[in-house]
């Protein structure tokens, strides 16, 4: 091996390369040790997150493999704390729910890679080999820059994949249709393939629109504008506009408003997008004959708007991830979800820009409730008069 490798790992020789495994599942920890020790690494296993963390911080191994879900201190905590203490530490997360959301979360917190359970010994070895390669790189180059680029690159790869997939599907239908033109086999499928191609076009158009909306929500003046908005009127309009979709899906739609004024600060267009997204989702992911209830109430000086559906519900392990970009709850019913995976990311972005919060309660098989909490607008916090001519003319 050439001398450009790190002095600590001594080129290709793994002897002296130390790995700490933290997993509350003792058997899992032992299997990891057995597999990795066979490859020549010095491996220590900890069942307890806190003890594991102490060991990592005092011994500074070359690699940490940590289970994300543990009682007591969680894997995510271990990662954040190790990362804060030593940003050069390379960590691999073992996760039970392999999603882009948890991967991004763990990587944001400082992990290098993740390994979805169940995994094979070879998958473990591959990830460990790559992570140790990363360790060498980190020790010899500009660490922060690399990490930032890797996350960005991974994300860009994912986004390009999402954008290209519909185009690839359409292009292959065209290729095959052109090639099989006139052939018996293709005749029966022609119409179906054209209609599928059209659906994939629409999917791409929606994805681009949503992506643009998300960027606009991030960079527009949405965070600053506090026009007084009559939420009673806005919610009634949103519900009205969604009525045809609800009818189409045979879902009943009702709105409950408290007495008195409900004025929040924001920009009308964005607040409209926020509630339209939630109501549309509640209709789309509902069952036939289901129900969507939109209910506003005052709570400790805030306005709370709850949108409740009678859909399939969201499994517990997905609840903290549904607001992540491109996260999709996989559909065990077999029918592919039709959304872009960005709707709730847009919704959360708008809510936080408005100084509010959004929260999800759900029960599998019963339904979900998304509750948006926005500060009630006090007269002095409204945008200065004159910024909107219509307001001044009243």
């Amino acid at each position: 091996m050439d001398g450009s490798f790190d002095r600590r790992a001594d080129g290709g020789d793994v002897s002296g390369t130390s790995i700490v495994v933290i997993d509350d599942d003792y058997a899992m920890g032992l299997s990891c040790r057995k597999i990795l020790a066979k490859s020549g690494y010095a491996v220590e296993v900890f069942e307890d997150g806190t003890k594991g963390l102490e060991a990592v911080l005092s011994r500074r191994p070359d690699l940490v493999v940590v289970d994300l879900k543990m009682p007591g201190i969680s894997g995510m905590d271990v990662i954040s704390r190790v990362h804060a203490a030593d940003p050069d530490m390379v960590m691999v997360v073992i996760t039970g729910y392999p999603t882009i959301g948890s991967a991004v979360e763990a990587i944001k917190a400082g992990a290098f890679d993740f390994l979805p359970k169940p995994f094979t010994p070879d998958e473990l070895r591959l990830v460990v080999t790559r992570a140790l390669g990363q360790r060498r790189l980190l020790l010899q180059s500009h660490r922060l820059e690399l990490e930032r680029q890797m996350l960005k690159r991974r994300f860009m790869t994912f986004v390009s994949h999402q954008l290209k997939s519909p185009l690839v599907a359409i292009r292959q239908y065209m290729d095959v249709l052109l090639r099989l033109e006139g052939a018996e086999a293709a005749a029966g499928q022609r119409e179906e393939w054209l209609s599928r191609s059209r659906a994939r076009c629409d999917q791409l158009v929606h994805l681009i629109e949503d992506w643009l909306t998300l960027s606009r929500a991030e960079f527009s003046e949405l965070g600053q504008r506090r026009d007084p908005l009559d939420l009673r009127k806005m919610l009634a309009e949103v519900v009205d506009a969604c009525e045809p979709q609800a009818e189409l899906r045979q879902v009943s739609l009702d709105l409950t408003l408290p007495d008195g004024g409900l004025t929040v600060g924001g920009e009308a267009g964005w607040v409209g997008v926020l509630f339209t997204n939630l109501v549309e989702n509640a209709i789309k992911y509902n069952r036939t004959g289901g129900r969507v209830s939109v209910a506003a109430r005052m709570d400790r000086g805030d306005v709370c708007v709850a949108v409740t559906d009678t859909g399939r519900g969201i499994p517990e392990e997905c609840r903290s991830l549904v607001f992540e970009e491109f996260f999709r709850v996989s559909d065990h019913g077999g029918q592919a979800p039709s959304g872009t995976g960005l709707g709730l990311a847009i919704t959360r972005k708008i809510v936080t820009q408005l100084g509010g919060t959004i929260n999800l309660e759900s029960e599998v098989g019963v339904g979900s409730t998304f509750t948006v909490r926005l500060p009630l607008l006090s007269p002095e916090s409204a945008s200065p008069a004159g910024s909107e001519p219509e307001e001044a003319l009243g």
Binding site: L126, Q172, Y173, V176, R196
Partner: protein, 134 residues
């Protein structure tokens, strides 16, 4: 031995499965379709294919690599180790470049890498060559 060759397509895009599957059928191949890595491994044992088309990015970013790795290195799949494996991705970056710094690259290197959209003639030629060799 039957003269009809079986191709296993592991890809989570139903439309890609539909078009490429129908095309290969029109070319006289028997096509078996799987929509995920897991399903792919199960169908592999069932259908004993003559060649495998494997997408890289499915539900997770590197799902295809996991499948390739399992086929090439897991003892339970030993008898499929020499089945020609063609990996597909819409990202024009073959695994050699993608993992150039990793030592594990030899473990997941496919027999052939094709970028999506796949050129139909290149696909046929690749399969013909792979099947000849097998």
């Amino acid at each position: 031995m039957s003269s009809v060759k079986t191709i296993l397509i592991i890809d989570d895009d139903e439309d890609f499965q539909a078009s490429i599957g129908a095309f290969l059928e029109s070319e006289g191949y028997r096509v078996v379709r799987a929509g995920s890595g897991r399903e792919g491994l199960a169908k592999l044992r069932e259908c004993e294919p003559d060649a495998i088309l494997l997408d890289i990015m499915m539900e997770t970013m590197h799902e295809g690599y996991g499948v390739a790795f399992t086929i090439k290195h897991q003892p339970e799949y030993e008898r499929f180790q020499d089945v020609p494996l063609i990996m597909l991705s819409s990202i024009r970056e073959n695994p050699d470049q993608r993992f150039q710094r990793a030592e594990g690259i030899d473990l997941i290197r496919p027999d052939r890498y094709l970028a999506k959209p796949v050129d139909l003639d290149v696909l046929l030629a690749t399969l013909a060559k792979a099947l000849q060799r097998a």
